[in-house]
């Protein structure tokens, strides 16, 4: 089943309908258990059974669009998210990011691709515990060879933007869950990526904090594509359209998923 981008964003702002990222006929299989190896095969061990996490999924996301991935646990949301982010490769199918086929990239090139073009936000934040909020946000800029002063300036500006100007030198352990998630959002945006993917971004937050974080996502979506996976309905309300997954396949999509309600909630 193929899902195309919606003609315009639900906010009514102009949206470039040129797909930012396109996944075609994506399949992903995981082996349940370890490979037998040469000696194992000689001893007659067979390959472990494969589990299909994604089956013939096609999706495209346009610039300025927020796409929600919905579905129960094990439906393939996170797998699709990881594949679109370039964290994993599909077993079959192709992912094209602005005319670059991710399948053709080496592991190193895919890492570089994520650094330059993709911002990743995790449910459990995954901040580096031993670094301050600012150092966490600035970390990708180190890899880009950005000077120290510019790193500090950009990281500070982003932390101020997400309302953490008084938490700049705090370590993750000294921040609340919502604050940590906002640091993670700032980290994802610091390289000004064209695509932001978020896996259950409000999964560990209370509802009030979740609303604040979702408002950040709405601001983030300006001039970039956002894909967020969640099984939380309020979270999905900010999406321009929601793609439902069931057992690794797309079962449905909604283009008007109570899309305006989030503004009422957040403002």
């Amino acid at each position: 089943m193929t899902v195309q981008p919606s003609p315009a964003s639900s906010t009514g702002e102009s949206t470039d309908t040129t797909p930012m990222i396109v996944g075609r006929n994506l399949q992903k299989e995981y082996k349940r258990g370890s490979e037998p190896g040469r000696i194992g095969r000689l001893l007659g061990r067979s390959d472990p059974p494969a589990v299909r996490a994604l089956d013939e999924v096609s999706i495209s996301v346009a610039n300025g669009e927020i796409v929600g991935l919905a579905g129960p646990s094990g439906s393939g949301k996170s797998t699709l998210l990881h594949i679109l982010a370039g964290l994993e490769l599909p077993t079959e199918g192709t992912v094209t990011f602005q005319e670059t086929a991710l399948n053709s990239l080496s592991r190193r090139e895919r890492t570089r691709h994520r650094l330059e073009h993709v911002g990743v936000i995790f449910q459990h934040f995954h901040l580096l515990k031993s670094l301050s909020a600012r150092a966490n946000v600035a970390l990708p800029l180190v890899e880009l060879g950005v000077s120290k002063s510019e790193r500090r300036q950009r990281a500070t500006a982003l932390l101020e933007r997400v309302g953490l100007e008084d938490r700049i030198t705090h370590r993750p352990g000294e921040l609340s869950g919502g604050e940590q998630q906002r640091v993670a959002i700032a980290r994802a945006l610091v390289t000004d990526p064209k695509l932001v993917v978020a896996d259950e971004p409000t999964g560990e937050l209370d509802s009030e904090t979740g609303k604040r974080v979702l408002n950040e996502f709405r601001r983030v979506a300006e001039d970039r594509a956002v894909i967020l996976a969640s099984h939380d309905r309020p979270t999905l309300r900010i999406a321009d359209r929601v793609v439902r997954l069931q057992d690794g396949t797309i079962s449905d999509q909604e283009t008007e998923f109570e899309s305006t309600s989030i503004h009422t909630q957040g403002e």
Partner: protein, 406 residues
Amino acid sequence: MTLRSLFVKWGGIASIGIRRTLSRATRTSRQRVLFSILGVAVAITLLVVVTGIGIGLATGTTVYDDDIDYWITPEQGGDRSPMIATDGPRFGSVHDGATQIEQTDGVDATTPVLSDVLRIEADGEDEYVLVVGVINNPGIDDVAGVNGSQLTPGDPYYDAGTYDGDWTGEVVLSEGAANLLEVSVDDSVSVAGNESFAVTETAETSGDSIGNVPTAVVQLSELQTLTGADTDDQADQFVVKTDSPAVQDDLEAIYPQSEVLSRGEMTASETVDADLPLALSGTAFIVAISIGTLFVVTTTGLEIVADRRQLATMSAIGISSRSQIQLVGVQTIVTTVLGGIIGGLSGLASIWLVNTIAVRVLTTEPIAFAHPLFIVYGVVVALIIGVLSLPALLFIARRITGGVPT
């Protein structure tokens, strides 16, 4: 990426590595990181202590202190200690020799030392006692652990090359000898059958004594007369008091066939082979590096495995495997260098402890050499440990990096 950007990136990774290590050591992963640092520190401490002992034994530690003593002994493989040097070759014309040594620049005082085990009798008690003959000169305090300063200065029985001066009959007994003979000050004693001696003082033995050997100190010329060493004015050795280590060469020139030894050499080094200190230090170096490297590979390797979620996070946000490996390298080096600094400092403290114990129970002065440069040595060896650990740790990091953080 330009060269400048590359340097900026490396600087940033080094900065993150240092901050991460310090933060983990003090806040987030205190136990694990401190355990790694402590492991290196223990290896470096042992290395510094053994090296200090090795250098101490190899060089003699008399120069360790400003208050330097030298012993001049006849050059041969015989006994060197004044306690037991009774049958070896002796120096002749020792009164003239002593005068010559005293005139050497930097020498504060000197005395020839003649020793023999003689029978001393007092009121029916008789014991064999180590009798030491000296010239009491200001500056010479203890000889063979007994203070002879109560003797009449200048050895008056020896008079311008003859033994016709004033016989003093003075004996200073060690407390042990006095107790054995059951005598006290002013009691008469017979030394080797000569009954003209009286106890001048009973003295507590100092650290220079060996065990509880009963000792008596008498005038040199009087002991020479008793033992027949007055022929050619003989003595076993000279003891020289000086504050200048530079006099050693001058002392060696006075008696051509002599050895000039520091006090440390007279005590500790006489019992060890000359190559032993070098072997000791070399072995300590190899053992410290081997144990330190294995320890760092094990503890830091476990830490990298435990840190794999954070490494996966770095991969996910675009930090390359190469940068992560560099980060692991920086953290390893920082950990080992911290261990080296702590190990160097605790090594110096341990040397002080070893010397304190040694002086109390083994020798007359420190056996281990200490120097602030040992801290630098510890850091350098820790760096070597870090560098040797890197290949294995980088291999582990290489295997761990990537994937999706869960």
